[in-house]
Symmetry: C2
DNA sequence: TTAAGTATCGAACGAACGTTCGGTAACCTT
DNA sequence: AAGGTTACCGAACGTTCGTTCGATACTTAA
């Protein structure tokens, strides 16, 4: 946990000292303070509201109501609405990557590692639907410094997946476009937030297995499917 | 074309007569009037802006600027901002379905028909990226009557795809969840708007072939991939 | 040429927005 | 008990929002 509310350090802004107070020196861990715990709850409420109404459509007054705190009081915990989205996205993304790294230690087998990637993604996704929807749906919302930082984390995640797939390709001596495979896979597993219904659909583990099978058969099998008949027009 | 600006006829609203003027009797076609042509251009500008800033983030003043028309003047062509989004989504969705129906007449082969579905989707998607992103991204934005109408069209599209896949499954005697397959496929092909770059990526036809191969191999091949080793924890 | 309809506009409305300010209450340390 | 820090609040500020209104130009048909 530990929201690591270390100074956001964005682009130009000289950070007037009013809100950067709670910064911890980087090494120091300073176990969840009262402040951090309250902030975490606020982020949870905020994720719920952003998920429901979208970032632009949600108002700070909505959050104030949901959190049972005055509008002004909110600003004790973060700089701005934009900062709020940034904190949610960063924490969510960092957590999912952290867990993935941990789980990847369990296996050296290329195919198994791809399965671990998918399972980790889906498990976290379905256990944290709201935050994950905010991460996924408000992908291009943040601009400038905060946006660049989130985009960097996203590239890191992309790169991990790409490497896993290229390891697999090398090991099995296959031929496919890594980029297309990664993005096709991401599509399948990120799209879930638009339709998954816990009362109808499989749970995370079973879903991960199904999707892994679908994807891996598509990638592993030789291109023996019918070729399209050449069309005369265009 | 022909935006079929036939009376929107929403839920309760008695339609006070002020804006429903341009309604055409349903049968009548009334080739693109001056009004319809201007409206089509406005919808195009609106799609561009909604695409760039999101529905909530975009303002009518943005549209006014982009269209080179006064703020008040816009309301000559539609009832409200919500109506604008509705018109864009409806026209886009109806067009893609219409084209699909046309193309499906070309083949009776189950696999080929799935390929046609994917190709039609991607071709239209990449040729109308902005409108398709608005359709995809602002999926849950519309409420009440307009929202219900769009959701109905979406279900229709889903059903077409599901039927195609179940025909394929029957023909080949396979076993897979139609729902999972459809939604996995939709994920792959809708996610594209988040990453496709015409300077880097394949064009629609080639992309459709790649994605068709990936998906169809995943669906058609027997479940011969490695089973996950049972885990001890959880 | 005129009259009716269509297209467009400037200006304004009330509501909602994100954020700030000065102050008060609660808490912690000594 | 005192004094400093942290937590929180009511009220307001300036801005922007979607939408409306009354008036003016343009187009068309008689």
């Amino acid at each position: 946990m530990a929201l690591q509310n270390i100074e956001t350090r964005l682009s130009g802004e000289p950070l007037d000292g009013r809100k950067g107070r709670h910064a911890l020196s980087v090494g120091e861990v300073a176990a969840d303070s009262r402040f951090d715990r309250r902030l975490a709850k606020l982020l949870h409420h905020a994720a719920h509201i952003f998920c429901e109404k979208g970032y632009e459509g949600a108002s700070m007054r909505d959050l104030s109501r949901a959190a049972g705190m005055s509008l002004a009081g909110l600003y004790h915990y973060f700089e701005s609405k934009e900062d709020l989205l940034y904190l949610i996205q960063k924490h969510t993304f960092r957590t999912i990557i952290e867990r993935l790294q941990e789980r990847l230690k369990e296996s050296r087998d290329a195919e198994e590692r791809v399965r671990i990637f998918i399972e980790n993604h889906l498990e976290y996704f379905l256990a944290n639907k709201e935050a994950m929807k905010v991460l996924t749906h408000e992908d291009e919302t943040l601009k400038n410094g905060r946006g660049a930082e989130i985009r960097a984390i996203k590239r890191e995640y992309y790169k991990i997946c790409l490497d896993l797939l290229e390891d697999l390709r090398r090991e099995k001596g296959l031929q496919f476009s890594g980029r297309l495979a990664v993005l096709g896979l991401f599509g399948m597993i990120n799209w879930i937030y638009t339709w998954h219904n816990p009362r109808v659909d499989l749970d995370a583990g079973a879903m991960a297995e199904e999707m892994s099978n679908l994807f891996l058969r598509g990638v592993l099998n030789p291109g023996k499917t019918k070729r399209k008949i050449a069309k005369t027009n265009a």
